[in-house]
Symmetry: C2
Subunit: 207 residues, 2 copies
DNA sequence: CCAGCGCAGTGACCAAAGTCGCTTCCTGCT
DNA sequence: AGCAGGAAGCGACTTTGGTCACTGCGCTGG
């Protein structure tokens, strides 16, 4: 049994699971909590690669090719990790041929995700990326009210900037601008989307 | 045997193997030739995701998760493809558990590659990306001469721009600028790298 | 020979992105 | 109450990236 060979680890919010470049010796599975995978630049900027929650695995790749971690991972809240060593997992895969196939679909999703990030970085403006993030949030966490779709920003401007590959100020500015254009209402972290159509229109406008 | 179930296809230079969004029904392996994987934006810009040559496979992902192709692929020269249907390949994987593990390392390399592209797009300027491309070319194809390391650009400015996620003019301009700074000599597609140190220095300067 | 085409060079512009320096607000702590 | 630190607002500015419109070159197929 695989569980028998696994180790449980506990991380508190803000704690690093591992850093880019470190050698990797096993698979991490999130039992509870939330993890952010990201790259750091020399000048201190960050680019988020993915956010992962309970049930998902992190850093599948280095487990299989034996290379170092391609990115760093940090716990965003109290997080419990199940760790399985490379050797154990490899052996397990050979015994259960359907497992690596399953892993491949997980990795596939990850790959699609990365391609999506590349597409956004190389084809869209920050304004568009921010809008599409806001629409995603509105969809998943928004409540419909008389004024529009309301929700809270899930993180600081700095954090959002990291996800979009930019800096704090541009989040500020673009939110303002959208408010000035009457598409949003912003009050601290409280967002009210007033004109979904208008936002979608901006996305469609292939500038 | 797997080969028995495979189909050979021939593509001439410029021909599309498949397009982004199409459903995928099998694995493509390059027997001979060269293939470019890329994304296209609504406004017609392209972003190259990878270049693949003989022996490599293309579009492993959709084979496993059943989704559509995440990008388009085009043959850059006369190319011969061995095509294996999804069903056959899946069956083969279950019979030979070491195969999906092998595929995982291939996919891993691809993932690392994509992460590298994201890193470049989000942390570096076009100037830096161009320099690092030139250095790579100098390393792999350059001949040392009295004047420096000489080589030919492998493609048109337009094509290089696609790889770096930008437009033709910026390639032109940046090459000029590097020449004006005395780091390069450019004569049509002939490049002479005169100062490798200087180029590396620019890369290290975390602006 | 030359018309047409694809590629490259180039200047004038414009818009987006990023930087700096500061202010303001809020929150928690002493 | 007063202070320290983090988060956000904001204006002024610079740099980078991108667009447009054009020119010029060199090759190829009538």
């Amino acid at each position: 049994m695989l569980a028998a060979r696994s180790v449980r680890k506990l991380f508190s919010a803000g704690e690093l699971l591992f850093s880019e470049g470190e050698p990797c010796n096993g698979l991490h599975i999130i039992a509870r909590g939330k993890v952010r995978l990201f790259k750091t630049s020399v000048s201190g900027r960050e680019q988020v690669l993915s956010l992962n929650v309970s049930g998902e695995s992190v850093a599948e790749i280095p487990v299989f090719d034996g290379g170092p971690y391609p990115a760093s991972a940090v716990a965003l809240e109290e997080t419990e990790i199940v760790f399985i060593s490379r050797r154990d997992f490899n052996a397990y895969c050979l015994e259960h041929p359907e497992v690596p196939l399953k892993v491949l679909t997980v990795v596939g999703a990850r790959l699609r995700n990365l391609v999506g990030i590349i597409e956004e970085l190389s084809f869209t403006t920050i304004r568009q990326r921010l809008i599409s993030l806001l629409l995603k949030l509105a969809q998943s966490e928004g409540r419909k009210t008389a004024r529009g779709i309301e929700f809270q920003l899930p993180a600081s401007h700095q954090e959002l900037a990291n996800q979009l590959g930019t800096v704090r100020e541009l989040i500020s500015r673009n939110l303002m601008r959208l408010q000035a254009e009457g598409l949003l209402d912003v009050d601290a972290r409280q967002i009210v989307v007033k004109d979904v159509e208008g936002l979608n229109a901006i996305l469609d406008t292939a500038s």
